[in-house]
Amino acid sequence: MLELLSWTMLLLPLCSAAVIQLLLREMADTAIRISVGSVAATFVIALLLLESEDRTLTVQWANAGSFHIEIGLIIDDLSRGMMIVVTGVGLLVHLFSLAYMKEDEARGRYFAGLSIFMFSMTGIVLASNFIMMFIFWELVGFSSYLLIGHWFQKDSAAEAAKKAFLVNRIGDFGFMIGILMLWGILGTFAFREMAGSATLLVDSNSTLTGIAVLLVFCGALGKSAQVPLHVWLPDAMEGPTPVSALIHAATMVAAGVYMLFRLQFSAGIEIFEGFAGTTIAWVGGITSLLAALMATQQDDIKRVLAYSTLSQLGYMVMAVGLAGDHSGEAGMFHLYTHAWFKALLFLGSGAVIYACHHEQNIWKMGGLFQRMRKTTITFAIGTAALMAIYPLSGFWSKEQILEAAHHDQPVLFWLAIIVATLTPFYMTRLFIVAFLGKSRGHGAQEAKEVPPIMLYPLFALSCMSVIAGFTPVAEKLSPAFHHPSHSFSPTNPVFLISLAALLIGISSGILLYRGRDSDPLAGNRLFKVFRNKFYFDEAYLVLVRVFQNAVAVVVHFLDDFVIGNLIVGGLVRSASGVGNLFRKLQSGNLQGYAFLFGAGIILIIYLTVFAR
């Protein structure tokens, strides 16, 4: 029975997407019901599976002697928790989209895209081996492309979808090589067969293992948008806001972290020791710092949240890379809590955007607290969870990560503390400018509270943001939860430092932004660099252009000169030369013919008489 349920959980969204795409795109309301029904069913199944025992279900797919690839589902502590997150947030986003996309003409296509995404994400979470995970990895990238480009008539959305897919592909190239290298080292693709092999191989050839792990991390670089492949995530905000909530906050971007932790979980933590783990942790740390800096100067509400997501993902990657005592588990715990409150923040921003008639600039909002109280309160809860205020869920997971960093790599700990100062700063900025004060824009003045079907997901997510960190809840629902070794005490130095960081951040945010109508830091040269995202996009443009031009010059030379002139032209010239030669034989000159005739006869006489 449980096996059937597990396979249903994977395949039901696929059937829903297929049915909608093939039959029902025009009958949008039926399509919507099928899609929402499928995700509700998968959520129920995920809840049912919470109590089941660990198992792996496989189907042989391809066999070639000793090499075999299987399609299988792995149901263990890690995947159960992730499925709750994926299906839970997915269900709430589906419900929110019912109202948000009500007037959209292509909502059938949208819900088909959501179903395909749920299928692909479930596939990544439940994948029992690397090959299957890679297949679903690509599928998730594809569904992200579909959904970011939902309003493809807008140029910026189509460009953003392309950018997301291409940048992901770059990461996936390294990922594939890493998977193959790991297969060569570990001898298998399947996660359950990797257990315990890490110690053996790390002794034998640790450099090769480290390189393999780093290449596999390239996949996480692309999917979880770490520096330098982070450039697609802010552009991905061109998609509808529920999509941003589901894909680019809670689930898809977490897939990179999930994959790294799955590797750690299955192959043993030793695989991350040495330069591989250190590099991963530093990349995570640098990403979180750069993203937090860029977030301080963004004016679009979704962009601020996108950079905030990048920053928190940096935290998670850093935690996984530290490879310390259960720091990976801390990263996963943060992934789980972050999913709830970030989805809350994004859906809240979706409600705000919907109410302000699709206005997204925070400087044109303001005064929303008076007009949309319930939404503002839920947004405030989400903000508090993100800023890691005690006792909300974000606090517990962030403390675990800070403890792990303090224990293993003090420099990264201080980096994380700087980010922990910046996070409250930009979130306070966002909250004050968008919700408090007086209404600055036309849309904000006309805003009113959103319909109830949008509010219920916000309430549900607020509840989860509050309670998800508490141990009894986290024990049941969080993937691979690890009880903190010492319970919370107010005299813990880590807690005091992070509390100080929080207070500094909040107070500077209030001081700088209270009662302002425009950003006071906008003219500052340093802050302009943050606003322009450290010019990463411009640098990539130049890089692509330089390489493209170089390759184009070489190809042009090869095409024009070697193939055109030498080979094709050469053939033409030799054919025409030979033709000219033969043309001289037919001159129409009588005596010429007679001469050849005579010469031929002499030749024959010579050959027959004298050359014997």
């Binding site: 001289k584 037919q586 129409g588 005596q591």
Partner: protein
Amino acid sequence: MASLQEYLFISGLLFAIGLAGVLIRRNIIVIFMCLELMLSAANLTLVAFSRFNTGENGLPDYNGQVLVFFIITVAAAEVAVGLAIIVALYRARQTVDVKDLTSMRG
């Protein structure tokens, strides 16, 4: 008495002169005359071989000389036809210069 080689030498020389004339001269009638010269050279060769070959029972071998008669006859017929063609050619092209008879441009 001249030996066979001397006769053959003369006939070869005659043939060569005729061939050179066919290849070099521009007037069609002169080319024709050189053609006849080549035929005569062949005749001379045949007669020479007939003169210096004795057949069975000591009598000379007259096969060559009989062939010469045939050749002379055929040559005469051929000249008649050839001159008729030349006259027709002159009537069509108003020239007997071989260079002017080329109609191809290459």
